[in-house]
Symmetry: C2
Subunit: 693 residues, 2 copies
């Protein structure tokens, strides 16, 4: 067994207890109550104040939906505890295409989660500090950049610091609801600052009336976003994983319902009037310059008093939990990428654990998309929410439909516990039909308000993923071992490419000698006569007995003459396998690679295009290269959701002192026995460097 | 000799005749007459209409300066015909730092050449089609992107199509000047559309009066930009190179003087009133919305008639020659980069001829900088010209001072032709003092108008280049062969990394067998038990006699267990050199590399960090890889100025059918004699693939 093994106990200890899992996975769904009631009421207000009387019914529908979805996901967790979530369920039960639709929906949704959460977070900051209103977009972009930077640097999601905002948010909103309701029951209901504003309602036909109710419901459904998060994180739970995940899900659902219902009730009690266009509020005079404060901020100031300390605590908690929700997308995005990669729908590199570079790209892509979206939609929650939840409900619907298929299949198995299965089946069928209806409603009500963009991007992602898969399939076929393949190359000629008389070149020569090839020669491509003369002189002076072949390159190219020379050799020697030794630099800083190796890389690529050529890279570690280490122990986005503990990688001892290490190996070199008299000349020659100046 | 040799005659035939060299190198200096007279007169007008009476004197000063600079560069071409220009002269004669100052000045100047030329080109397009006035910035950005795209694609500067706009521009401006002067002598002088406009002049103190004259002169000096282009292009001329280049330079100087003087005279005759702020023109009522037409457009419409065909021809030629001038910067930038790289002040990769990728980066950087500058300065010639010519005159002054040093040194040589040298010396001394004075004037008059930015950026570039040089020097020292280095590694163990039972892995194994190492084993890192079982079964079925060692990797990593295994082997065997065979894919399209090889690359990097490890890359050429060829024959920016003919690269025949090639080599494999009984086991085993399903 290789690798520092963590015992099972130890592994278990690094997994998430429920008390940490709740805030980590629930920050996304819980934070959505910060904007869902506001958007729900806002749409109703389009029809005028009278429409607010429908609010309890619409909110009740959202709560019912939330109940159904939570119940459905309880089933999903039980059946698919591997963390694949809707994507896995859909692709396993409904086939590849359904899985890919879910995949593309989720990719879009991660971007939207970042955008909406950050926009809402900024909105709540502005609600507390209205002076910042002019910097809305700048703040939003700043927070996305900050989140991206934090995730590029590496951050352990399980850190307890991450739990604080969520618990603070839950507690403070809960306290606010209780105080508000108690005050109301005592005959002193809170009154929002916008309570006095009249609203210019539109005259609505009956069809428009129904459509408006449906639109309000659609916007309220944004409260459901993120419910699926726990189903993706089951592997990160402590044992018994399934039960713990299910309990956390139910707990989260309960809290979400309480907060959502409580906030909506309080908003209605306090008469919060939040309009899509602030200037539709009659009485809000400075609507052009003053920001409209968020619903949660208006409730908080009416309950706690404007500018009071609890008000600021609540706003801070709200903003923090929203940013945390955005952070979860930075964790989920690469995780989904790795799942897609594992199944061959995304570049395989995305499935390379521990490759910070890859995850950096994912973080950068997600951040860049979110920034673009935020700038284009001017960081307005109301605008952004139109693009949201399409993806969520696509994945809900397909996931639940997949679950129905799953249970139907289970039923057919021998010894199936039909009673239980029927129960699960009906729950998921209910979930599937509810979410399907909502998806239709959402599509109808939001398509022309901006959601068309999602319907444009999803097929593009879908096609790309399918294309990647087909590409891999073709390659797989191309490299498949078939009955007619016969290998059996022969020959063992080696060429060492010598540029200048420098240590890296001599090391390459040394290694080539150590490998005792049948024949060995050093090749120098001359692009500068003076340098070539100097090299030849040094070669003689140092008494190196490997022959040095000089090739002139009139066009100052290196790869082409070398390839031509090798080809000639192969033609003369019946297609021998030729090993070309290339010395290359290993550097420490990214910018150093801008200054090195490009030529070597080009030569390598040229050589690799030839048949019968192997390129042997002989590294020369520059002093700076030991800086490379020490960067590995930072966690990678999505690592914890996958159930992988964040462990410090064992640091390898690396001594930068190449010379000593090689030299000590050299001390034993004399023991090497000559093997073949034919190649004696090359084999026994020993490179000993003398001062050659 | 390797490489298809072009005979000297043939090479000569591909060099530039004077008739082509003139338009190619002169588009930059000649095009500057399209804005120089305008900017000169505009600054004078700041003082009011009366100041125009100083215009002939200021213009005469510019012409005198042009004469002196042309004469100076005739000397420079003679002394330094290698195409290094001012940079070479300054660094050879005044030392490294002076050379770097010139280098950074020129880098800045290339960006400004693109920006100013494109801005002026767009200005002239708008002057012909005023409806486009609202799209000024968009058009400018479009043209920069277009030029970058054309240069990324590769374009032969020597194409005759490039000569047409320059000749058309020269001819049509010349015809316009002649017609205008003839009409004036016949008593029918042209009258510009702005002739009737009064100008609100400022009240000036005497100091301000002189400063204004100096500012006008500074702006007029923009006519001198690009004069140095020919000195950078001497290698591209036909023999006798020096004489041809000198004659072309003189011819260009003559044409520039005629055009500049002619346009200024006509502008004064036609009373063109061009103001820095259009709304300072009394009588130009719609100054907010209507664009002020360029000086050349106003002259053209007064001479040929507004909206006449010759007017449009002239405007088109002007715009075309200006865009051509911008294109020359796209050629000069990478050329300068390669010269700096050759001397170790820029990444060495920039000196890799034929590497399209590198030049692409140069083109992209230049284009991006120009776009940023154009957007920030709103594509206004008047704003941009403030940043221009600082760099030009820095490089003029240092170049000419370097020439003075050069001649002084020449004088000291025995058998020096003192007469001739003294003549050259005095010409260059005159040039140096003139350009130094102008540099001081330009700095004083432009610093607060935006030129400070140039004085900020130049030191940054200077420091970067010096830093790169010091880095290379340190590395050079680190890899220098010193008396204490002793090499002499021993051992010859080989490891073939096997992922799946696929052709690339078998090919790597086959090559490793062919190389007949002392000992050979296949290593598989198991991250998936099922896949490992499948591999082990296939291994047995195919009767491969190389032992397969399976390493379990609990953390799904590949590099680390492999490195650990190799280290253990080295510890047990006294630090043997271990060759690790890695199969890698060679692909055809850039996007394919997103889908492959990342894992292999990571493993390779990890292995290369180890002492005593060589990585042997065994390529597997995917079918798509033969697409790579056929892209090489396109010219690279700066190729022709360097005097390198654009030649089609010999196409290498590449058969994608790997199997046959390897298989045919395999047919001869049986002849391979066993070498060492100890390693018989591995050496004689033959990989023969059978259907293993």
């Amino acid at each position: 067994m290789i690798g520092e093994k963590l015992s099972s106990d130890k592994l278990e200890g690094q997994l998430l207890p429920k008390s940490l899992a709740l805030p980590i996975f629930a920050s996304d769904p819980l934070s959505s109550v910060a904007y869902a009631p506001q958007e729900l009421l806002m749409i109703l207000l389009l029809g005028g104040l009278a429409f607010l009387s429908f609010a309890p019914w619409v909110a009740a529908a959202v709560v019912l939906l939330l109940l159904v979805v939570v119940a459905s996901y309880r089933q999903l967790i039980k059946a698919y505890p591997s963390g694949g979530g809707d994507y896995e369920v859909a692709s396993k039960n409904l086939g590849e295409k359904a899985g890919l639709i879910v995949g593309s929906a989720l990719l879009v949704d991660y971007v939207m989660t970042v955008a909406v959460s950050v926009a809402s977070g900024v909105d709540n900051i502005i609600s507390a500090v209205p002076e910042l209103a002019g910097l809305r977009i700048e703040l939003a972009v700043f927070f996305v950049v900050l989140l991206a930077a934090v995730n590029l640097r590496g951050v352990a999601e399980s850190s307890k610091a991450f739990a604080i905002p969520t618990y603070l948010f839950i507690t403070s909103v809960f306290v606010m609801i209780v105080i508000g309701l108690v005050r109301t029951s005592l005959g002193d209901p809170p009154v929002a600052e916008s309570a006095a504003f009249e609203v210019k309602g539109e005259q609505l036909s009956q069809a428009a009336f129904i459509l408006l109710l449906l639109r309000a419901f659609s916007s309220g459904c944004s409260a459901l976003t993120g419910v699926e998060a726990i189903s993706n994180g089951v592997p990160a739970f402590r044992r018994p994983k399934i039960q713990n995940a299910q309990r956390t899900l139910v707990l989260m659902g309960g809290i979400a319902i309480v907060l959502f219902a409580g906030l909506t009730t309080l908003a209605l009690i306090a008469n919060v009037h939040y309009a899509e266009n602030a200037c539709n509020l009659v009485g809000f005079d400075d609507c052009q310059n003053q920001p409209q404060r968020s619903l949660i901020a208006q409730i908080a100031s009416s309950v706690f008093g404007a500018g009071s300390i609890p008000f600021f605590i609540l706003q801070a908690a709200t903003a923090a939990v929203l940013l945390l929700a955005a952070n979860t997308a930075f964790n989920g995005f690469p995780l989904l990428g790795s799942v897609l990669a594992r199944d061959g729908y995304a570049p395989k590199a995305l499935n390379t654990r521990g490759d910070r570079l890859i995850f950096s790209n994912g973080v950068l892509i997600l951040g860049a998309c979110a920034v673009v979206i935020l700038v284009v939609y001017r960081a307005s929650v109301t605008n952004l929410i139109q693009l949201y939840i399409i993806g969520v409900f696509v994945s809900f619907t397909l996931g639940q439909t997949g679950m129905v298929r799953h249970w139907l299949r289970e039923l057919k198995k021998p010894k199936a516990q039909t009673g239980r299965i029927w129960r699960s089946l009906s729950i998921n069928a209910l979930g599937a039909s509810f979410t399907a209806i909502v998806l239709i409603v959402v599509t109808i009500t939001k398509f022309t308000h901006g959601a068309w963009l999602v319907f444009l991007i999803m097929p593009i992602l879908f096609t790309l993923m399918l294309g990647v898969n087909r590409y891999y399939r073709d390659v797989e076929k191309e490299v498949e071992v078939d009955p007619h393949t016969t290998f059996g190359s022969r020959g063992d000629h080696a060429v060492v490419l010598i540029g200048k008389m420098q240590k890296p070149a001599l090391k390459a020569l040394d290694y080539a000698i150590a490998a005792r090839h049948d024949s060995l020669e050093a090749v120098h491509i001359s692009i500068d006569d003076e340098a070539t003369d100097k090299l030849e002189r040094a070669w003689r002076e140092m008494n190196i007995r490997v022959p040095l072949c000089v090739l002139r390159s009139p066009y100052r190219e290196i790869g082409y003459p070398l390839v031509k020379y090798i080809k000639k050799h192969q033609e003369a020697n019946g297609g021998e396998v030729v090993t070309v030794y290339l010395p290359i630099y290993i550097v420490g800083h990214w910018w150093e690679s801008l200054l090195h190796n490009h030529k070597a890389w080009r030569i390598r690529q040229k050589l690799l295009m030839q048949h019968g050529v192997t390129v042997a890279l002989v590294p020369w570690l520059l002093d700076s290269s030991d800086v490379v280490y020490g960067r590995r122990s930072r966690p990678i986005p999505g690592q914890e959701r996958r159930g992988e503990p964040v462990r410090p990688m064992p640091r390898k001892p690396l001594k930068p002192a190449n010379d000593e290490a090689v030299a000590s190996a050299g001390a034993r070199a004399n023991a090497a026995r000559p093997k073949d008299p034919d190649v004696e000349r090359a084999k026994t020659s020993k490179v000993k460097a003398k001062s050659h100046r």
